[in-house]
Amino acid sequence: MAELDTSGGGKKGGGKVRSKKASTRVDLTAMVDLAFLLITFFILTTTLQKPKAMDLIMPDKDEKTKAEQPVADNRTLTLLLGSDNKLEWYMGLMGKSQPTTDGYGKNGLRKLLFDKSKEVLANTGKELFVIVKPSDKSNYNNVVTTMDELNIVGNQFRAIVEITPSEVELLKRDHLYN
């Protein structure tokens, strides 16, 4: 098939008639074709990249074992996740400090977390505690992004907590609840 006859034409005349030696070489082209076809098929049908997962640990909700330790309010940062991919944050207790609107992303949330972690560590010598409160108008992506930013910054102390009505009011006031 893929072989050209390169035998030099053979000797002319004379000599004994010999039976031609059959070549032992097998043409593998078709076999290789088939093998590659199958490879292609398997590559296309398999999921090479397994999905990745991020672990999420929720605070224990059991009412009986309410062993909650108070966290000093000077090292708590509360993030309220609002609509339109925006969030609002305040330090400490609500109402004491002015809430600020911010966006996600490296210049918004990550910078905030990074700065506050540093600030709290310098002031109290302890880690920053972050409370994430997703509102009903936020989407799942916002929650995952927030947790991811916390992972990137290396924050270990965080919790997802339900939002309170007064905080919803706060979001409404700043038009982050639509």
């Binding site: 893929a2 072989e3 050209l4 390169t6 030099g8 070489r25 043409d27 593998l28 082209t29 076999m31 290789v32 093998a35 590659f36 199958l38 490879i39 398997f42 590559i43 049908t45 398999t46 999921t47 990249q49 397994k50 999905p51 990745k52 997962a53 991020m54 672990d55 999420l56 640990i57 929720m58 605070p59 224990d60 909700k61 059991d62 996740l81 490296k106 997703p134 509102s135 009903d136 108008k137 936020s138 989407n139 799942y140 992506n141 916002n142 929650v143 995952v144 992004t145 947790m147 991811d148 992972n151 990137i152 339900e162």
Partner: protein
């Protein structure tokens, strides 16, 4: 002057090595193959920097999109055990055929009371069937709660390992839907679960 003669070479290429490589690759792909499963519910997962892959076995995935929840259990043995236990809980009898059909079902979103009918459908009708999602609410007596609970029991019984629950949510899904699912899990003290995400790199 004599001409320089170019030696005539055979144009046949030795295919042996190529053939070897091709079959080696083929073997590798066959052995590592896990056929792509078509999710009845399309969920576009959000991106994160988490690099931990989901485990090979002992897990269940709750897919959430368009306000609906779908459930899939890994492992045929666990599936069979779970559906039997679910039948007992809901006093619904499943025929052996239906149990086998369930064991072959990857992901589903059917309320338990109509699940037997769905499982009896021929395969070509199943793919076109409009699945309405597994009922979830905030009480302790919803379908999803029992599904997860029975799967955990079955997994513990068969593999003696704790079941890992993963949530595969659509990025645009509103938080209340996710919250409902998380609450259902927390009702049975599953406080640790995985969120399935696609990989993204940290932008510096």
């Amino acid at each position: 002057m004599s001409r320089v003669k170019v030696a005539r070479k055979s144009t046949a290429i030795d295919m042996t090595a190529m053939c070897d490589v091709a079959f080696l690759l083929l073997t590798f792909f066959i052995l590592s193959a896990k056929p792509k499963t078509e999710d009845p519910l399309k969920a576009e997962v959000p991106a994160s920097t988490a690099i931990m892959p989901i485990p090979e076995s002992d897990y269940a995935i709750i897919t959430v999109a368009q306000g609906k929840a779908f459930y899939s259990i890994e492992g045929v043995d666990v599936r069979k055990e779970t559906i039997k236990a679910m039948g007992d809980t809901y006093k619904v009898g499943f025929t052996p055929d239906q149990i086998n059909a369930f064991a072959a079902t990857e992901s589903f979103g059917i309320p338990l009371n109509i699940l037997p009918q769905f499982l009896s459908l021929p395969a070509n009708e199943k793919t076109g069937y409009k699945q309405q999602g597994i009922p979830v609410d905030t009480t302790e007596n919803n379908d999803l709660y029992h599904w997860v609970y029975q799967t955990r029991l079955a997994n513990k019984l068969l593999h003696n390992k704790e079941l890992k629950v993963a949530i595969k949510g659509d990025a645009r899904e509103e938080y209340p839907t996710i919250s409902k699912i998380i609450k259902t899990l927390q009702k049975q003290k599953v406080d640790k679960f995985s969120l399935i995400t696609s990989l993204k790199t940290v932008s510096k």
